[in-house]
Amino acid sequence: MQKLKDNQHNKSNGRSVLVIGGGVGGIRAALDLAESRRNVVLIDTSYSIGGLMTQLDRTFPTNNCDLCTVSPHLSENTRQIHLDLKPMTQLEQLTGETGNFKATLVTEPRYIDIDKCTACGECHKYFPEAVRFTPGLDPRAPTCMRYPQATPYAFSIDMEKVTDINALKKVCKADAIIPDDTQKKVTIEAASIVLSVGAQLFDPAILDNFGSGQFENVVTGLEYERIMSASGPFQGDLVRVSDKKPPKKVAWIQCVGSRGINKADVPYCSGVCCMYALKEAIVTKERFAESIETTIFYMDMRTYGKDYELYLNRAKNDYGVRMIRSRPHSIIEDHKTKDLSITYAVEEEVLTKTEAFDMVVLSTGFRIPETTIDLARRLGIELNLHNFAKTDHFNPVKTSRPGVYVCGVVESPKDIPETMVQASAAASMAASNLPAIMDVPESENDFIPERDVSGEEPKIGVFICDCGLEIGGVVDVDKMVEFAGARPDVVVSQAVGYGCSSDSMALIEASIKTNNLNRVVIGGCSPRTHETKFQDLLRRAGLNKYLVEIVNLRDQNTWAHMGQPKEALDKAFKLLGIGISGVRKSRPLMDQTLPMNQNALVVGGGVTGMTAALQLAGQGVKVYLVERSAGLGGLAKSIRKTIQGDEVGPFMNQLIDDVTAHENIQVLTRSIIVDHSGIPGRFKTGIQTGPRMNYMQLDHGVTILATGALPNRPDAYGLGTHDSIVTQLELDVLIEDNPEKIKAMNQVVMIQCVGSREPDNPNCSRICCQAAIKNALRIKAIDPDIQIFILYRDIRTYGFQEDYYRKARDLDVKFIRFSLDNKPEVRVENNRVSVFVDDVILGRKIQIETDYLALSTGMIADDETTEDLSMMFHLPRTSDHYFLEDHVKLRPVDMSVRGFFIAGTTHSPKTIQESITQAYAAAGRAQTLLAKRQINLGAAVAKVDGSKCAACLVCVRACPFSIPFINEDGYSQIDPAKCQGCGVCAADCPAKAIQLLAFEDDQIMAKLDGLFGGLN
């Protein structure tokens, strides 16, 4: 946290955004803001941030290890100069208004000085009652760090569990323990508030039928994650709690506590449980044993997200996960074996069935805890009937109180990608109450000028941390100091205690100056976490930041070899040898920079593109809004009402007016993109515009793709052959524009999944279930006597849409299920439309004559357009032709090419509200780039020595990014602005004409020499 203090002055010159809650959503929002040079205060009641995601084992759909994907995300945190992280802190009071809030924050005592704690774990070692964080399975230790990459990287103490505080104080060599730590209260000025406190997971113990809490082998989904996790109670072995034996048969029960009307149930759908149950089942088979039988009991499989249906198909077809459509009513435990038997009924059969399992996982959903309700009251925001934050229908991150925004599960149940999208959207909205980014000057680094060390003989200073006992307790620091001091060119060699503490940093800085050092070696912990810190120290001391080498004495030596002190000392010598030899060959390097172009190109003038354009324009960004048709509006212009009953038309007209009138937005209709070049931050895109296709080039720093999707019109169920067979979109218009015609109807049939979830378009279109229910409810509102039949495969009214589904059932809308291999049949006889369908429950085929047949056709990707653009912009697409984001979980609006963002239905099918949210998110993410005046390209780039180059083309062919080319002078040229720094070309070059800066061959050779005692 040293850095935060150093840069405290940065914070005084502007108000902050207060982000409440340090889960992935809060972290994302805070990082987005900090990256766009906005000051942020991030508070969390916990000891360290990370929230729910850090407890998960792996995440779908890639089944990646979460820790790996989340940890770089978290450590980013400490680098942000605009970010003030306050763990164990709550909001007490909020006064004032938008742009000018005063928030009173209360921080609980941690009893550990974060600045001093080095996370050595000594305290933990001596109080080892429970090391791991394993909710529900292990008690919490008195001192705790939740997981290896915790942020802040410091322990905390639960004073209630401490018996002898002096003993504890003694073991801490860093003297970080503060026994008399007290609660602290501060008031900060905030322009906006972002609420991202998430929700709790439902505790099923109060349900008596499933035995949760009583039967050892009944666990919740989260407990199952912990059991599978490598950092969990069984070190990553999947075993039953009762006998620690691997299970052979595991069952999942869905919707435990959700979608219910019984005691303790909530009526809404928690949205995420279907996917996590599928993931847990797949991971069980993938990682543990193919032979473990996995069964999921479910009501509707709600795999409505992007490519989620493919995941479901994989679970069923590739992994053989068994799916039973049933809601079991009880679990009984065998007292001896602790096996479990589940009793359940299936629709097709009269009798109930009973089946035995080794383990049962209860898929529990989200609940808003009392603490959140309380917090909402303090924030002065309204909650909806389910106690989630009530938000604007056309801006789901905006609460009832201006200036207060929400994201993540506290807004509605959702999964990680959607939380990330909302977080970026909330950050973007929050920033709009601050001065526009274009007007915020970039803080100048007040570093002294770099000293020119060329021509100087190496003068190396070696500074070795003992890191308390972490290093010094295993190896003799004095001996290392002595060893290092005897190496050639080393003029200073000394121990510095905790090298990363502010005292030591000051000492090193002074030593560099007084001894005129020109190279520095730090013996301490991993360069992964501390290199930046010491690089900054060098800059402060007037040295180029690439003249420091960090020797990993702790993480890769004393920690790993604590039981072998002799060997560890020997290895420490060798590692120091590597570092000292290496640093002698290091050279001052310049980070490559280019000025950033601060214009944005938004492709697509639908609701998404317009929202994003407007949001950016409001921040002073010049926006080119390129639309291929003659007018703005896109698909949303043909929608009349949302399921919540809001009129879309007036909203769209206002949006179009705002966009057209905005001085920072240049609307280019009838425009086609034809070429593209440049690097992130400096793109050049050619368009043909206007009726005569005039060519022009646009210069821009970022690109937001919002090209949308197409309404699907498959050749199915007689669509297009009869006036009464239409799509839901057409029905929506008819209801609004011609209610008389509706009134004249007696029966209406709707068929779901038309052209979706089928082999040639396997994914779910997500919007059709709610669209059908929306239209059904509106028809019922016109005339409750009209009979409505909805033929469906699974009803996917996720989140609060479930309320409307229930209402439709209450209003006697008939839901009839069919399966993919037994689809309904449509016949037209005597100009009358009839639908034939097998009723599963009745067990026979029924005929429904209908006045109107509405087909839920959903959306389909605009293959032609996304293909064209993906080729020009070099962007990947999914197998069903939507754009593919960089990381489906953590970077859902960023594309793999930096500077490109996607939003709306060009990403995947979604509702207007979801598109708007993503538009704000994309605008927010774009600002993180646009906020920069310079593009820093780093220093590790390949450099060609033209005099050695044989122009053999090896680099041209080997580069994974196609950067090198043979220039006019006949040798290879590598644009440092484009080079990614992997070094493949340098390794392959047969003439050894290419060097990767910061990793030059002579430096690697020097390191080998250092290791083997030779002197280079």
Binding site: R528, L1008, D1009, F1012
Partner: protein, 147 residues
């Protein structure tokens, strides 16, 4: 040869293997201290010559550890590194050295245990093979001198 402690160089990529090694440390998982890591941005940067030079300068074994197949941060650097390791193995074969003295490994950043296990297995293998032929001759000589 009982108490032979081999010197092993591991070229680890910053993004995966190096992080995995840190992870092993933070979990206090022990592995042989014989393994010394040299950090590279990507295993694609590791040239055959780096491996050869390591052997020449005195390593008894060298391995290159990169990201899992298909997970390279730079698309295919780890695959290319694999080819180069094979190339070095061909040289060693021609020279009559044990090709097992060099190896390619793949792991993700989170695989701390795996890092430790492979480090152990590789060290054990090199112990079985004994000192590098370069060192062996010196040992033989010194023994002869003594004898």
């Amino acid at each position: 040869m009982e108490n032979f402690e081999p010197e092993i160089v591991a070229f680890c990529c910053h993004y995966c293997a190096y992080t995995a090694a840190d992870m092993a440390g933070s979990k206090r998982i022990s592995y042989p201290p014989n393994v010394k890591i040299i950090r590279v941005p990507c295993t694609g940067k590791v040239d055959a010559i780096h491996i050869m030079k390591a052997l020449e300068k005195g390593a008894d074994g060298v391995y290159v550890a990169g990201c899992l197949e298909g997970d390279c941060h730079f698309k295919n650097g780890n695959t290319r590194a694999g080819y180069r390791v094979e190339h070095v193995q061909k040289y060693l074969e021609e020279l009559g050295w044990e090709t097992e003295r060099v190896a390619m490994m793949n792991m993700s950043a989170g695989m701390g245990e795996f890092f430790a296990r492979t480090a152990l297995e590789f060290t054990q293998k090199i112990k079985q093979l004994g000192p590098s032929p370069i060192k062996r001759i010196n040992i033989d000589k010194s023994q002869k001198a003594v004898g």
